[in-house]
Symmetry: C2
Subunit: 723 residues, 2 copies
């Protein structure tokens, strides 16, 4: 591996962000990953890599001294020395995973520099765990990684295009990852005390400022939004961008400009930070905890308001966009709403796409962007009325724009195999999307499709525009069910076949429908429906299906599907490792059944009056989980029409934890002879039913981990009500 020690730290390719940069090469754009020759591709990726790697290192020029590397700018984040090494280690880890390399570069450094962007716990940040190396040592390590990656870019086997499952994806992912950290590290530097930062000629802020324009509303017509990125797409994307999202957005009004410091000052002066009533609950808690009185980068001096930039404080540029977290933006909207009587709020993610699509904007091309983005202009914000996009300003660039929308997966979402925790930990309805990018957002970050999300109290170079709309936005479901039992059942009902065993619910319903030939198919009851698959399958034939289960948690999953939502759950793989899975009725060709199925919580041994008049009742894997199977069997005929059929399927796995020993239907010696559960069923059912056909065993498989399964045979009997 050639030593890179002698490479100039800042190569001529670097385009420092400064107003005069128009004459300099642009900071490389995220490349198309399929076009042109192999050699052309290698060149393109090399440029993209080196420009990124260099630019990232140049950021650390803004640190004034060694202490700046080791003192944490904010408590919940690593010191900057970590981030200096982290982006290099990331390359190594991902290259190992796609097997482009087989050995580590520096085991010790790679253990130190591996973890930590969002949501770190206190334990992860225990300083005692680390004995940080010097910046020079880390630089040496970075040089080794740089050489390694350049060697791969030059020599590794390559098959174009490079898409989602190509091993080279790891290289592009490493570059895009470093671009994210270019931005987040710039925020940390901005949060550092002034004594730790210094001026750098490569990071020059905008010097222009003035009086802010008066904000006005612009109408956005009703329109469709479409996002549709698939795994063969030739532009790099993070996992959450993939899949299909299509919706129609009602007309709304939006502010022409981002909210400026000027506009926000009214809120501050109106006691916005003192009167808690404009704040949402979570915002109130944040406000109480931090005692904030104004935006975090605002500095109040005796001579007036100043604004903290990356390496300096400047007299408040009132026409620049205010930078706040979600809570502050939301409180402003609520205040504005009470002031104006208008339904002011933040835009949803979809409303932002509508604004973007209406504005005619495009992602940065190979010319200087008409937006304060991608380091094309400044190492800071600039006036909100500088970059017009159609009827709007700053649709993208300047600062990120908070939305009302917590990040959620599109239909068809899948984690990337080498980075399964990029988005999934944020599917908790506590991470809101920011859109549009800031002055330092580069590469993928500058795309319309980019979907970054942060906790609502987090600070980035982020502000907001507001909308006026009566439309109440619903929060898309993003939760992944992680409860072991629920997710096992979700997979059992809606997931993949194991060992070639057909879906159990479907197999039962197929059997039932054969037995029901020429019988009425109006109403069916699926008692003990669990997560409801059989209810939907029954609704293919029946006009109405009632699904009842004792567990409200089970039913919620079925109800979620019935609402047309996607069911998401994790699957245990090995130890604590999980995979992510989603299913919808659409995929299963069951969407047409949704409106015929109703789910209720209920007790099979004590059913409410309303559940009666059924032509068919299914009790699948139920009787050996009841506290009193006798009660169930003795009463259930009252709910079944004469001539109707009761289907019982059970492995007869009697366990004292579910059914007291004395309540078992069978599986013991009675009067000296083996008394099976089938004997017990006859005992309780023969008065009202005729058993039709011989019992048969239908197999089912419940997946516990990637390698461990319960494989069970359920005995199926059919009972026709005759009395």
């Amino acid at each position: 591996m050639p030593s890179r020690q002698n490479l100039p730290l800042h190569s001529p390719a670097v385009s420092p962000a400064m107003p005069s940069s128009a004459t300099m090469p642009l900071f490389a754009r995220t490349p198309h990953l399929g076009e042109g020759s192999e050699a052309g591709f290698r060149n393109r990726i090399r440029d993209y890599f080196t420009s990124t790697f260099d630019r990232y290192e140049s950021l650390f020029e803004c640190l004034a001294n060694e202490a700046a590397y080791y003192v944490k700018p904010i408590a919940l984040r690593h010191p900057l020395i970590f981030y200096y090494g982290h982006t290099a280690t990331f390359f190594v880890n991902k290259l190992l995973l796609t097997r482009m390399i087989t050995a580590r570069v520096n085991q010790r450094f790679e253990s130190m520099f591996a973890v930590g962007v969002d949501e770190m716990s206190w334990d992860d940040l225990n300083d005692a765990h680390y004995e940080w190396p010097t910046p020079a040592e880390v630089k040496g390590y970075r040089d080794e990684v740089r050489a390694l990656v350049l060697d791969l870019i030059e020599h590794a086997p390559l098959e174009l295009p490079v898409t989602w499952s190509n091993p080279w994806w790891a290289i592009v992912m490493g570059i895009e990852h470093e671009r994210i950290h270019l931005e987040t590290s710039s925020v940390l530097i901005r949060q550092h005390k002034l004594e730790y930062v210094k001026h750098s000629s490569h990071w020059l802020p905008c010097t222009q400022s003035g009086t802010a324009p008066v904000n006005t509303l612009v109408k956005v017509a009703e329109g469709d939004v479409l996002l549709d990125k698939n795994k063969t797409d030739c532009w790099y994307g993070w996992d959450n961008e993939y899949g299909v999202h299509e919706t129609c957005v009602s007309a709304f009004n939006t502010s022409r400009f981002l909210v400026s410091n000027q506009e926000f000052l009214d809120f501050v002066n109106a006691g916005g930070y003192l009167n808690h009533h404009n704040w949402e609950d979570e915002g109130k808690a944040w406000l109480t905890f931090t005692g904030a009185r104004h935006p975090t980068f605002w500095v109040k001096k005796t001579r007036g308001w100043y604004l903290r930039l990356m390496t300096e404080e400047v007299a408040m540029p009132w026409d620049w966009p205010v930078e706040v977290n979600y809570h502050e933006a939301k409180a402003f909207c609520n205040w504005k709403k009470s002031e104006t009587g208008l339904p002011v709020r933040l835009p949803t993610e979809d409303e932002w796409y509508r604004i973007y699509d209406e504005s005619g904007l495009q992602a940065p091309q190979q010319t200087l962007a008409n937006a304060n983005i991608h380091l094309d202009h400044f190492a800071s914000s600039c006036p909100v009325n500088r970059f017009a996009h159609g009827d709007f300003y700053d649709v993208a660039g300047n600062v990120w724009q908070w939305t009302e929308t917590p990040v959620y997966p599109f239909d068809g979402f899948d984690v990337h195999p080498i980075y399964d925790d990029f988005t999934t930990p944020t599917f908790d309805e506590r991470h809101n999307l920011i859109k549009g990018g800031s002055w330092i957002s580069c590469g993928n970050e500058a795309q319309r499709s980019a979907r970054y999300a942060f906790r609502r109290h987090f600070f980035q170079h982020a502000g907001f525009r507001y909308v006026v709309s009566e439309e109440v936005q619903s929060v898309p479901a993003s939760h992944y069910e992680t409860d072991k039992l629920l997710s096992e059942y979700a997979e059992f009902h809606y997931g993949d076949e194991c060992f070639g065993v057909a879906n159990f619910s479907k197999a039962l319903v197929d059997l039932a429908l054969t037995a029901l030939a020429n019988k009425p198919l109006q109403r069916a009851l699926d008692i003990g429906c669990a997560t409801g698959r059989a209810s939907f399958e029954l609704a293919k034939a029946f006009d109405h299906v009632t699904g009842i289960d004792f567990s409200a948690r089970f039913i919620q999953l079925g109800a979620q599907l019935a609402r047309g939502e996607t069911l998401r759950y994790t699957l245990a793989e090995e130890g604590e490792l999980v995979s992510y899975k989603s299913r919808s009725l659409q995929e299963l060709a069951l969407i047409d059944t949704a409106q015929k199925v109703e789910f209720f919580q209920g007790d099979a041994c004590n059913l409410k009056e309303q559940f009666s008049g059924y032509d068919f009742i299914l009790a699948a894997n139920l009787i050996d989980r009841l506290y009193s199977p006798e009660k169930f069997l003795q009463q259930i005929h009252q709910r079944l029409n004469l001539g109707g059929i009761l289907m019982i399927a059970s492995p007869y796995t009697w366990l004292a934890e579910h059914t007291p020993r004395e309540a078992w239907l069978g599986g013991f010696k009675k009067d000296g002879e083996s008394f099976t559960t089938l004997d017990g069923l006859h005992h309780y059912l023969d008065a009202h039913y005729k058993r039709i056909a011989e019992p048969r065993e239908v197999p089912f498989v419940i997946r516990e981990t990637r390698r461990k399964f319960q494989h069970t045979l359920s005995e199926v009997t059919l009972w026709e009500r005759i009395a």
Copy 2:
């Protein structure tokens, strides 16, 4: 169904047991079940049934009043009213099981009369559970059952021969069952107080008695014993008679006569019941608990010793055989031993066969028996020197003879599907065989092959003869492993395939042997061998195999097989119902490997020095059950020869209950990336091994119940030691 109310209670076919009976028809012998015409067979079975049913009813003539039906003769048994109904109910239950009938005769009676011969618990005998019917009601019920059975005998479809799996087996079983109760009820009547019994002209005891002959020893030469009854045999047998038993018995001496009351009196007079030192431990406990001072049917009156017969007490007939339980018989032998210095003991079951075979005796034929058996002569014992059989007397008949042998299953033993608890509950080494039959032993009981066993403290019409032999008898293994985990593993290793998945141990060894081609095959280690199947499989190729497991209980099963014994275990079927299973190395064609395998208890994380120098080490389903897999992996190369192979198979099912979370090899995020167990294996093994070939998954299935299985994939990796 024709009413049987008008049938005479005692039909002319009944042959009362009395000395003058020589001119009366003999009590029907157990019939051949295959020969002759269908009509002839129906006649034969009808006679066998009616004579038995009648004779059983005639026994109750000996009861003096209604109270005699309801007062328990002994605390641990039902009152006689139960037994009066029980033999009829038994027919119904077994006929239902073979589907010769489909409905019960009397649900309430059949619930009352179903259970209870041996070893009842206090709960079963709770009087509150029963409201006994009157004897007349039971007689009415018996008549119904009689008519039912006769109707079947006349009209049911019949296919000859009637053997083990023929539905008609239920009828023959019912008859033989009633004959057993003929004897056991006669014992209960004998145990009743005199006020409850009365003389019956159909049950006349022997009136002959005198001075007992002096007992002498007769030599029995060394000889073979063979029992070999299979399921196509045309003579009825109980389950424990089936299978093969073949052995050679060393020469021994045995008493010419059964021990008479006279001979036993010496022991009583010598303080035999007062000095506990001649009693075995269990016998001592019985003696202390009961405070017995003499045989149970002996009555001490002021005018001397009397003997209780069925319905009267008579002056002690000193030349009749003494009737005792095993403990008393054994104490007598021990006393005799200390008196004579000779190795006196009871005969083993096999020694009894040798005596029988030498005596030239045959089971009762169609002429009057030359033995006090089958009710051919008396309703009591008779002098011990009345019936000579070759050099011996009373080889069969008069009273049963206790043996030293606890009942155990022959090779090939199987429970009968309609009576799975006839013998199995007695396979506990606490039930000793009695042989030879008594004066009332009829049908199957009178056969050489009959194998009845009772708890050692139990009383029947049973006494003993003794043998003198230095031969120490070993107790054949009879225990069925019922521990859930052990029996599941026994089946997993030695049982049947489920879902077409090949035997796991065998599959692993096959893979190993392919990898070991051209390598030395001297010594193999099976670490975590459990019940040892892979050890035996390895021994097909290796000269020596060591099997080590942490669980001594697992190893015992393997060691038992290695000794050539049969492994017996129960399989959970449904609820508490079980089936019975046995396996031997012979059946599995592994018997030749037995002497090459050694089992040890040991800790895989802390192996003793001696276990080293292996060419191959197998760790199957081990690593995720260790408390420190790291210790195991870091040390195991010391036990493997250079060039040798370590095979690791595991589903990587990490559970905190076996392995503390911090000791897992993988299955978690490490430095931000998924760290699999395979990564962990490389981490610990790469210093000493080269992994050969790609990992592959080998499935295995563990059966939990008839319908519930664990179906698991074990990842197999092979590691060649290189350093």
